[in-house]
């Protein structure tokens, strides 16, 4: 669909962002394969900290899990020293993907093709017939195993969350997130040990940025999400805020649970049903577990993570772009290791709101698909992002699209658009 408007006609260098700036989004950012290629290079392989996994997924030495950072697949493994390594899932010999299990425990990695074997640091330990057979064949004299390690990423972790980077950022994770985001991050990840409750994946035929826009857009939440609106889980008339880091690349939506009662705001929400009742109210039976008044905190962390805290529903949503018009969303639902059984039950029940079948997030998935369908063939058109003004600034309300503008202000700078 993008071909007619693709690279041959419009090389990235000739692309012109609309003069109005970040309050307009040209549709070609969602379809152009050349833009996608530049995103891979500058964003996903750029000097950013990308979410990889939770420490709790690989608690013991030798435990590993696969993850995907942009287009490149990695294996995160806990070394014998307890530190996590993130290795590209590509044998140094012929590029074969050497690890095909989603997770497990290993003492070394052996590529099944020619049995090149690596230690958990990614160092090449050895390979069959290195010295040939009966004086014939073998690797050249100057072959050194030290020259053929697996590609290894820079890794940082904070309070049980592992991040990695293809290009060593010149910022620590704490600097990268900035003080505002770090405060919200530490609210959920305080250092308390985590417990994984399970995984979900969905493939959405839409551009990966639409996922970020969705969670940076509190305007839609009060209109699209009948379920959230009706049961007061997220609504414009509640005390709420949108905050960003200095660059605008990260953002957080903060809200406080309200009542199922009609008022001036709900009158503008066709989604509001005053009389809708749950037959089993245990579905929404939240208990306060974090300091402060906020009951919903949705963080979007550049470039591949959404941290969800809605009531007692906690999840990492990892964005894995596949191409310009498709991405996978990987959900890791979690709680805390010391949760009593009734709290785990509560989290599992509330998880009905989220994931590929969520009362709320299935809406979002459908909305992104329909957005991509509307964008296809209309690459010359642009999106309008003016709710709450045209500037990028933190606001103590949610009648705004400011965080989308913040995202694109940063995006343009990184992409050179």
């Amino acid at each position: 669909m993008a071909a007619a408007d693709g690279g041959a006609i419009h090389p990235v260098s000739a692309r012109q962002w609309p003069a109005a700036g970040p309050s307009r989004i040209p549709n070609w950012v969602y379809t152009d394969p050349d833009i996608f290629a530049r995103e891979q290079e500058r964003i996903f392989q750029g000097p950013n900290w990308l979410y990889v996994c939770l420490d709790a997924e690989i608690p013991n030495p030798g435990d590993f899990t696969r993850s995907k950072l942009g287009a490149r697949e990695v294996v995160a493994v806990r070394g014998m020293d307890g530190q996590v390594r993130v290795l590209i899932n590509r044998c140094a010999h012929r590029s074969m993907q050497f690890c095909s299990a989603n997770r497990g425990t290993a003492t070394e990695f052996t590529c099944p093709y020619h049995q090149w074997t690596y230690d958990l640091d990614g160092n090449l330990l050895g390979l069959p017939f290195r010295r040939g057979l009966r004086g014939l064949g073998g690797m050249p004299e100057d072959f050194r195993t030290e020259d053929h390690a697996l590609e290894r990423l820079a890794v940082v972790s904070r309070h049980g969350v592992v991040f990695a980077s293809f290009a060593q950022p010149n910022q620590t994770l704490e600097e990268y997130l900035g003080p505002t985001m770090l405060g919200w991050f530490d609210r959920v990840f305080s250092g308390r040990a985590l417990k994984v409750l399970g995984y979900q994946r969905q493939r959405l035929p839409s551009n990966w940025k639409l996922m970020f826009e969705n969670i940076k857009d509190p305007y839609h939440a009060s209109l699209l999400h009948v379920f959230l609106v009706t049961f007061g889980l997220f609504r414009m008339d509640q005390q709420s805020a949108v905050e960003m880091d200095d660059t605008g690349r990260h953002a957080v939506l903060v809200g406080r649970r309200g009542e199922q009662k009609a008022n001036e705001a709900t009158a503008q929400m066709r989604a509001f049903h005053e009389n809708l009742r749950l037959a089993d109210p245990r579905l929404i039976d939240p208990v306060r577990e974090f300091p402060g008044e906020a009951t919903v905190v949705m963080q979007t962390l550049w470039p591949n993570l959404i941290v969800q805290q809605q009531s007692n529903g906690l999840a990492m949503r990892q964005i894995v772009p596949l191409d310009a018009e498709n991405f996978d969303l990987v959900w890791t639902h979690f709680g805390y290791a010391d949760d009593p059984p009734e709290m785990t039950e509560r989290r599992l029940r509330q998880a009905n709101l989220f994931g590929p079948a969520g009362f709320v997030s299935a809406d979002d998935g459908e909305a992104m698909i329909l957005s991509q369908l509307g964008i296809a063939g209309n690459e010359a058109a642009e999106g309008l992002v003016e709710m709450g003004g045209r500037e990028v600034a933190d606001v103590p309300h949610t009648v705004t699209e400011t965080a989308i503008r913040g995202f694109y202000r940063h995006y343009r700078a990184v992409m050179g658009l």
Binding site: L197, Q200, R201, D280, P356, A362
Partner: protein, 165 residues
Amino acid sequence: MIAAAPGLRASAALRARLADLYGAYDEALGEGQYERWPDFFTEACIYKITSRENYEAGLPIGLIYAESRAMLADRVAALRKTVLYAPRLMRNLTAGIVLRSIDADGMRLSASFAVFQTMLNDPSTVFLVGRYYDRVVDDNGALRFAERICVTDSTLVPTSLIFPL
């Protein structure tokens, strides 16, 4: 057709009642009659959809996780009144039903399912396939699911899961 595990005695009458239950379930879902769906379950039922990956690792999360018939009714009310989705038809096919055991807690059965999805103006596609792990009880004269765990072979849901399996 309901098969029985080796050595398990099951009368033709019982197998026919089970076949009726499974057949009616497929029919209700395939015809989009979701209002009929909660009534296939007991009041204190467990209904869960999860992937083989979670199931084998003992991870408890569900795509749908319900602990009562009322929660199933809430799911139907939500998909009728609150959830946005593009129009689609779903068709459930259940096969290879095996009665595995019978005890005081009811009958344990397993079966394979395939669910096909047809979006408006698109070809039909395989949506999810997997296995049901069921516990069926006689609930005041009607056979109902006291437990239905739907374990999908794929870890990946194509787009979104709007309707139950």
